[in-house]
């Protein structure tokens, strides 16, 4: 894993939409944000979650594309469909396990987050992760995350039998090896039943996981003096 990576931590998100507003400023898809900010259920919580393209190692969207329009570059970034090839069939939109690609009617072209290729290819951070006021979107050194965050980065997901490895990391409760997106959650299986099928949802981490964290952060004090 190279040093600079993209990390998402929805537990930090404040729903401000700075990411959405900033994404819409991009020179390559002006006025059309590619990042989505999902409201979980405003009736019961202010929880929101940002969704960028996870840039899968073996992208499902590309696999289901009949026109071979979706390409992954040497850095592992999965790009918006190439205009001359895309037949606007929406297979990718339906197949993506994370719900990322969109098919804006007026363009008849699959469009999605390319991790700000214009910026990252010249050594800058993606726009959303630059502006995000909460650190919910973080682009930077993996060692920073390892040293300062309580949560752990995870980039393996299972959707039923499909295991997906991604370039982008999600922060999860300590000791979470993999995020299982499972019908068990939706069907309301809890604790014992969930344990039996290896389910570790973020909210289900034992409180002790947080309390027993070793806070080994003296270096921090230096870092914040400005």
């Amino acid at each position: 894993m190279s040093a600079t990576q993209f990390f998402i931590d929805a537990s930090r998100c404040i729903g401000c939409k700075a990411c959405v507003q900033a994404c819409g400023e991009c020179e390559t898809h002006r006025g059309m944000p590619m990042i989505h900010l999902e409201e979980m259920d405003r009736g019961s919580t202010v929880q929101t979650a940002p969704v960028v393209c996870m840039h899968c190692e073996d992208p499902t969207c590309a696999k289901v594309c009949p026109a071979d329009a979706i390409k992954q570059d040497a850095l592992g970034v999965v790009h918006t469909a190439s205009k001359p090839r895309c037949v606007a069939c929406s297979n990718c939109v339906l197949a993506c396990p994370f719900g990322v690609p969109k098919m804006p009617g007026k363009f008849e072209l699959m469009m999605k987050c390319d991790m700000c290729y214009d910026r990252t290819s010249v050594g800058k951070k993606p726009m959303c992760a630059t502006v995000c006021p909460s650190g919910a979107l973080y682009f930077g050194d993996e060692s920073y995350i390892a040293e300062f965050r309580r949560e752990v980065p995870v980039n393996t997901f299972s959707f039923g039998k499909q295991i997906v490895k991604t370039k982008v990391f999600m922060m999860a409760a300590p000791l979470t090896p993999r995020i299982n997106v499972d019908m068990a959650v939706l069907c309301g299986f809890q604790n014992e039943k969930a344990e039996a099928i290896g389910f570790h949802h973020q909210d289900m981490a034992e409180e002790s996981v947080w309390n027993d964290l070793p806070f080994r952060k003296p270096a921090r004090e230096k870092e914040v003096v400005s």
């Binding site: 404040i14 401000c16 959405v20 006025g31 019961s44 919580t45 006021p133 309580r150 921090r220 914040v224």
Partner: protein
């Protein structure tokens, strides 16, 4: 004569607010001529930002990652702020009220009309019959100039500013407790705290950048306590939420102090060495048992004890608060009661230990320091202090006897207009019709004015009632300095010059001063000269900027006051070594019995009504209601109401409800959420006319600071 000059429809067509979208601008997306390193105009964080400029227009932004406060981070307001530039609603010429609406006029005629009105009103009714209202979104230079203009050119005692609606109760309390009015710590102290109390501060929406500081504290093991009648984004993952009933804050603070005493978590040594007045407070809070406080505040006794434990046991801790505890008729009492918790545990004046009010307006801190308040002279001096009066008169070169005394505060000025005592008003960057409580009365008051002049860049709802509108400048069209919420004075660079015939604000004020016969006091050639005078006059004053210069501010990315000499490094953290700013260097305890809000709930009006902000809008919305993508993010006010109450009223999500108080009513869609107390409803206040939350709020004032009680009054909600 300040009724509308023409129909609301025509005003809307000619002046907006119309939401603008950048994509429609032909320059949008082109390669900029230059990038200007400056700051956002939309809150007291004052994020560093680079503005893209082409052909004397701001066409976009680029993050500025080197600026230490925000390191490139921005909220949606900062990202879209550039859209206010090159806007179809922008005032390009001075306007004068005609028979059938506003007509463009020359500066000469506009000035002439303004100065004639000032002179006529003042000779007929006396100097104080003409008032001046300023704002805390303007630079330090303009805040200073406003004060000087009102005192010397107008000779009126009645100058005040919209910060009176903002955090003056905290400012007054800070002066009483600490002898100085400034956040005690740089924000870089926040991640060092092991416990945080966030009282009445919706940081995620109103001060978004601080979120990262708070989360970094949590990464570091800090426990977070949030006190709020709503679960706001910063409260969602807090360790402890104290869902206080609106208007009960001082009781809750007394209860927490009581628990700290019972649990023996005070720093008795600190109290003895560095404070006075604790005995009386200890005696007072003896009565505030968590059981009793649970009754008053609706916060469970268990939570009160838990809060005391978390705060008291943490080796370092910081307390931050904002309008939630300040916007009350006992705003000063609330703040002082919370300060008692900080002082009693000695958690101040050290890394990771301290206190601060989170100042909401762009220059909320600096705007309140340089003399545009009715009770204040430059350098944070006191207008009633003979020595201070002498120093300022001498510096300005006027006889002390000619320096007006203390005047009325902002809301009192509106009251005095309504009572027929004030006949003329000049207002800059202030939109009282939207921002002052009880807007139906504000409107009636404006109608009584013989003359209303407004300096603004857009025709605000207040300016729609004006006789003369002087087309002023947006923040990016001028240069100067502002002082952010942590007390760091920073440099604003001019990105472009004002469009059309518009002028920079300081030039307008100086021109008026000259035409009122006071040339020599307003002979400034640029904001730099005003800054030099401002820093000079602040030498040895309570708020000392005398060691600052534009060069230093730019090079050092801002300086914290006090900064008394050119080689002084500035003072990021106050009160180190327990040294406070009172003559005896000690901090003072003030204890208060809890008292009810001016208007409490009763059988007729059984619900609490409270107001606040949303992340995509700023203050009265004069700017942000004109930025399309910010409007789309939260297009109109919603009434947050708990499902239990909604069920009782037969209301479902998105259905319109009528919210009624003794002052007015409004129809607004319900947002049914479990994130608010069932006995409370919330409506954000950024909109005008029928959508204005301030039609409903109560213009009852805090006796010391004269801040109005925006955060609590009694209402009734009906299904429409």
């Amino acid at each position: 004569m300040a009724t509308l000059p023409t129909t609301a429809e025509i005003l809307l067509k000619d002046f907006g607010p119309r939401p603008a979208y950048p994509a429609l601008d032909p320059l949008y997306g082109q390669t900029p001529d230059k990038l200007v390193k400056t700051h956002c105009c939309f809150c007291g964080v004052q994020c560093g930002i680079q503005l893209k400029v082409k052909n004397n227009q701001v066409i976009g932004f680029e993050p500025w990652e080197e600026f230490p406060v925000n390191k490139g981070k921005l909220c949606p307001k900062g990202i879209k702020r550039y859209v206010q530039n090159n806007h179809p609603d922008r005032l390009l010429h001075p306007l004068i009220r005609g028979e059938h609406g506003f007509v463009e006029t020359s500066w000469d005629k506009a000035y002439e009309r303004t100065t004639t009105a000032i002179q006529e009103i003042q000779s007929k009714y006396g100097k104080d019959a003409f008032a001046f209202l300023g704002g805390a979104s303007m630079t330090n230079e303009k805040a200073y100039l406003n004060g000087k203009f009102a005192r010397i050119a107008l000779g009126t005692a009645n100058i005040d500013y919209n910060g009176r609606l903002c955090m003056v109760s905290a400012g007054a309390a800070n002066k009483m407790a600490f002898g100085v009015d400034r956040a005690a710590n740089p924000w870089s102290d926040i991640p060092l705290a092991k416990a945080l109390i966030l009282a009445g501060t919706n940081i995620g929406e109103c001060f978004p950048i601080l979120t990262d500081y708070i989360w970094r504290a949590r990464d570091n093991g800090a426990k977070i306590i949030v006190i709020d009648p709503r679960i706001t984004p910063i409260g969602r993952t807090a360790d402890l939420i104290l869902p206080v009933k609106p208007g009960r804050d001082s009781a809750l603070a007394n209860g927490i102090l009581h628990a700290l005493i019972k649990e023996d978590l005070l720093d008795r040594d600190f109290i003895a060495r560095h404070t006075t007045g604790f005995d009386k407070v200890e005696e007072l809070v003896e009565n505030y048992t968590p059981e009793k406080v649970e009754e008053i505040s609706g916060v469970s006794r268990k939570s009160i004890y838990r809060a005391a434990e978390i705060w008291g046991e943490a080796p370092t801790a910081m307390l931050l608060h904002a309008r939630g505890i300040e916007h009350h008729t006992k705003g000063v009492e609330n703040v002082l009661s919370y300060i008692n918790i900080v002082l009693g545990t000695g958690k101040i004046g050290r890394p990771g230990c301290g206190y601060g009010t989170i100042t909401g307006q762009g220059n909320g801190q600096g705007g309140r320091e340089h003399g545009q308040r009715c009770n204040q002279l430059p350098g944070g001096r006191d207008i009633n202090h003979p020595g201070h009066r002498q120093e300022v008169s001498e510096y300005w070169g006027i006889p002390e006897a000619e320096l007006p005394g203390q005047g009325l505060t902002a809301c009192e000025i509106i009251d005095a207009i309504e009572a027929g005592k004030i006949k003329g008003l000049l207002s800059i960057s202030f939109n009282p019709l939207v921002s002052i409580p009880d807007s139906n009365r504000t409107k009636k008051a404006l109608d009584k004015l013989e003359f209303l002049g407004c300096i603004d860049f857009f025709l605000s709802e207040t300016a729609q009632h004006a006789d003369v509108v002087l087309a002023g400048s947006l923040q990016e069209e001028d240069e100067g300095t502002v002082t952010n919420g942590e007390g760091r004075c920073i440099r604003l660079k001019q990105s472009i010059t004002p469009p059309g015939n518009a002028k920079v604000d300081w030039q307008i004020i100086c021109d008026l001063g000259k035409r009122l016969g006071k040339e020599k006091y307003f002979d400034f050639k640029n904001p730099g000269e005003i800054f030099t005078e401002l820093t000079g006059i602040s030498a040895n004053a309570p708020v000392d900027y005398s060691g600052m210069s534009y060069e230093r501010l730019e090079k050092e990315m801002g300086l914290f006051w006090p900064c008394p000499s050119p080689n002084h490094p500035g003072t990021p953290r106050l009160f180190e070594g327990g040294k406070f700013f009172h003559p005896d260097q000690k901090a003072k305890f003030f204890g208060y019995e809890y008292r009810a809000p001016a208007e409490d709930v009763d059988a007729d009006y059984p619900l609490f009504f409270t107001t606040g902000r949303v992340v995509s809008q700023y203050l009265s919305g004069t700017q942000t209601r004109r930025i399309g993508e910010l409007v789309d993010q939260y297009p109109e006010p919603l009434c947050e109401i708990h499902p239990l109450m909604a069920a009782k009223l037969g209301v479902k999500d998105k259905m319109p409800v009528r919210v009624i108080t003794r002052r007015g009513e409004m129809v607004v869609p319900a947002q049914v959420v479990t994130t608010i107390r069932p006995d409370t409803v919330f409506v954000p206040y950024h909109w005008a006319g029928k959508k204005a939350a301030n039609q409903l709020t109560n213009r009852a004032l805090d006796p010391i600071s004269k801040i109005p009680e925006f955060k609590v009054c009694a209402c009734r909600v009906e299904k429409v």
